[in-house]
């Protein structure tokens, strides 16, 4: 395929939402509610019906204020779970809206399980059970019903920013050779986080058998990095504890079915070695660090023990997974595996960058505005507020949408769209389509493998039990700079591969920032997520602060930002 006759399509909208997933679709509904006169346009890389983290469904809401809890107690819990360092203002603002957004989606048709009195069925302190197989279509249809326009199969590559004010974005279609130039009065970026930065658990024909969507490739972070937005806490990677092979969530087993972690000797090692941190209730990073150390020290495999389950409970367990990770049920059937007879083997995933679980992402104010005027962020791409999950992404989408609507009303409502320099657009389009014109060069999957090898071996990947030291990180940094200079050799045979090219370009930009952050924090705050063997201790005296970064004149500059405690109490007590 040759580039040359691509068409440029110009679009204008009041509010552009980049990414039509969990946060983006909800934001679209809320923006139309807050200001029905606004034109809202979603640009979506796949199709909003089943894109993003909710593609296969969801079986629980994991951020909900159950009876007896409060938004403040939620903040205390999240703070302790994140080793005493979070943006309390952000987490509190989410917590105050969790129950409202959950009830709203229930009203749209989401089945939430209830007890005999009609109360939501809790599955842990902050969790309720749902039959969420159709959750994504439910919120996608609501966005359409609310009047949002949607452009599917449009891959956004860059934001348009002038004098630190957002003006829109550019994208290309993976269905036809079209380059979109979208002008907007405000933009919400809601693209999700990044998988595939590190070598994943499975290889070859199974390399995409991962927990986080392999199609979430860090685009939202990367476009912000390139536009000079300030980013925070990339060093707080997210490593999930998942079932081995089919990398499915384990909360269903631990919280839903009372399964405990045991090692090869049958020891309840979390209780034995991490009792001071809360044993199996230890902060999330420790619940990955613990089993990883067991494996490293020769006491693996590690299991979640399900052998206490009755056949009826196994059936319920399968139903639970069919709502979210049906392929695990298929794998058990194919391998004649019965969780009532054998414990389920578990392991840590590749490290992801996911602001909805940890807190890597855009540095935002409480209105969700980034450091670029008119650019808002919500969901996995927004930083500072871990433990969001699905409902927190809705809450944050709502806040971002309402703030963006207010911003447009106050600052840019009467703004005339300026004519965009056509020469500038042409240069950008040529650059975006360039891999189609190269007959010889590097295929995107080759470059992806190269990136994943560097990150796995020198920046604390699975093969290194997530541990790293300064020397390794400096090697990673050097190799990434070299790799960055190789993107000019990327070659694509069609528009799908062109998308793959931009995915690896984005991943490399995210990885470079990640390594800078990992180098800068000279302590170990979140074991496994960020285990620096040269600085193995947590050091509140010097490192109770945020590590932020910003791309300036081609260089990643690091800034420190202070932590502020809003909710009183011991920061390490949940």
């Amino acid at each position: 395929m040759k580039v040359g006759r691509y068409k440029v399509e110009h679009l204008q909208t009041d509010l552009l939402i980049i990414g039509g997933g969990t946060a983006g679709c909800f934001a679209a509904v809320k923006a139309k509610e807050a200001a029905p006169e606004l034109d809202v346009l979603i640009l979506e890389k796949a199709h909003i019906e089943r894109s993003g983290c909710l593609a296969a469904g969801m079986n629980a809401i994991n951020a909900y204020i159950n009876p007896g809890e409060t938004p403040e107690s939620f903040v205390r819990y999240v703070r302790a779970d994140s080793m005493g360092l979070i943006r309390e203002d952000l987490v509190l603002s989410i917590a105050r809206r969790l129950n409202e957004v959950v009830r709203e989606v229930e009203g749209w048709g989401l089945p939430i399980m209830k007890d005999k009195e009609g109360n939501y069925l809790a599955r842990g302190r902050w969790n309720i059970k749902i039959n969420g197989e159709r959750l994504k279509p439910i919120i996608a249809n609501k966005a359409l019903e609310a009047g949002a326009r949607v452009l599917n199969r449009a891959v956004v590559t860059d934001l348009l920013v002038e004098e630190n004010q957002v003006k829109g974005a550019v994208a290309f279609s993976v269905r036809k050779q079209v380059f979109y130039v979208v002008q907007a009065r405000a933009v919400i970026v809601a693209t999700g986080g990044a998988a595939g930065i590190y070598r994943p658990n499975n290889q070859g024909s199974a390399h995409h058998k991962m927990w986080y969507p392999p199609f979430n490739t860090g685009a939202g972070y990367a476009m912000g990095i390139r536009a000079g937005a300030e980013m925070t806490s990339f060093e707080m990677r997210f490593i999930a504890l998942r079932t081995k092979d089919v990398i499915a969530p384990t909360g269903t087993l631990a919280l839903g079915f009372g399964a405990k972690q045991v090692n090869s000797r049958g020891e309840r090692f979390m209780a034995e070695r991490y009792a001071h941190l809360g044993a199996e209730g230890a902060p999330t990073p420790w619940r990955v660090y613990g089993p990883t150390q067991e494996i490293k020290e020769g006491r693996g495999p590690v299991f979640l023990d399900t052998t206490h389950l009755s056949e009826e409970e196994v059936r319920e367990l399968k139903k639970s997974y069919l709502n979210m990770y049906p392929e695990l049920v298929l794998a058990w059937a194919a391998n004649d595996f019965n969780p009532a007879e054998e414990p389920i083997e578990i392991q840590g995933t590749e490290p992801y960058i996911v602001g909805g679980h940890t807190q890597s992402g855009y540095w935002i104010d409480v209105n969700r505005q980034t450091t670029i005027d008119g650019l808002f962020a919500a969901g996995d791409v927004a930083g500072g507020a871990p433990y969001k999950f699905v409902s927190g992404c809705w809450a944050e989408g709502a806040i971002a949408a309402e703030s963006a609507a207010e911003y447009i009303r106050k600052k840019r409502g009467k703004e005339e769209f300026q004519e965009i320099d056509s020469r500038q657009i042409e240069v950008k389009a040529e650059e975006v389509f360039a891999p189609l014109n190269r007959s010889d060069g590097v295929r995107p999957h080759e470059m992806e493998e190269s990136l994943q090898k560097i990150m796995d071996e020198y920046a604390g990947g699975i093969s290194r039990y997530y541990e790293m030291n300064e020397r390794e990180l400096s090697i990673a940094q050097r190799k990434l700079e070299k790799l960055k200079n190789q993107v000019k050799y990327l070659t694509a045979g069609d528009l799908h591969e062109l998308m793959n090219c931009h995915e690896v370009i984005d991943r490399i930009d995210v990885a470079r920032v990640l390594v800078k952050h990992l180098q800068y924090r000279k302590e170990t705050r979140w074991p496994a997520y960020q285990s620096n063997l040269d600085y193995p201790a947590l050091n509140d005296r010097e490192w109770l602060k945020f590590v932020n970064s910003r791309y300036e004149n081609g260089e990643i500059k690091i800034y420190e930002r202070p932590y502020e405690q809003l909710i009183p109490g011991d920061r390490y007590l949940p």
Partner: protein
């Protein structure tokens, strides 16, 4: 392996802009073969096994086959999507069958 098509069942969603499976795949992995006019998977290794295409097919013509390193050849899991529920038919490697009916819309 990833998904397999039963072309005796598939009619390429005749009359639609593109087949539903092609339209909805979150990874843009399904495409229409320009010679046969049939949908196919362009890169099996990139499949996430999310079953979106399987659920979207009006003819039940698509089946998920997990990557071989993770799962033996036999066994199948087939969803039937109804207005407010989904019915899963599971068959394990020994031929045992289970059916699960789950309401997914109130």
């Amino acid at each position: 392996m990833s998904v397999i098509f039963d072309y005796n069942q598939c009619n390429s969603c005749r009359g639609k802009d593109e087949p539903f499976c092609v339209k909805y795949c979150p990874g843009d992995l399904l495409s229409v073969d320009s010679e046969t006019g049939r949908p196919y998977i362009r890169n099996e290794a990139d499949c996430w096994d999310c079953m979106v295409c399987v659920k979207s097919c009006p003819f039940g013509a698509i089946e998920t086959r997990l990557p071989y390193p993770l799962a033996s050849y036999e066994a199948s899991l087939k969803p039937r999507v109804l207005a407010d529920r989904i019915i899963w038919h599971l068959k394990d490697a020994s031929g045992r069958e289970e059916v699960f009916e789950i309401k997914n819309l109130e």
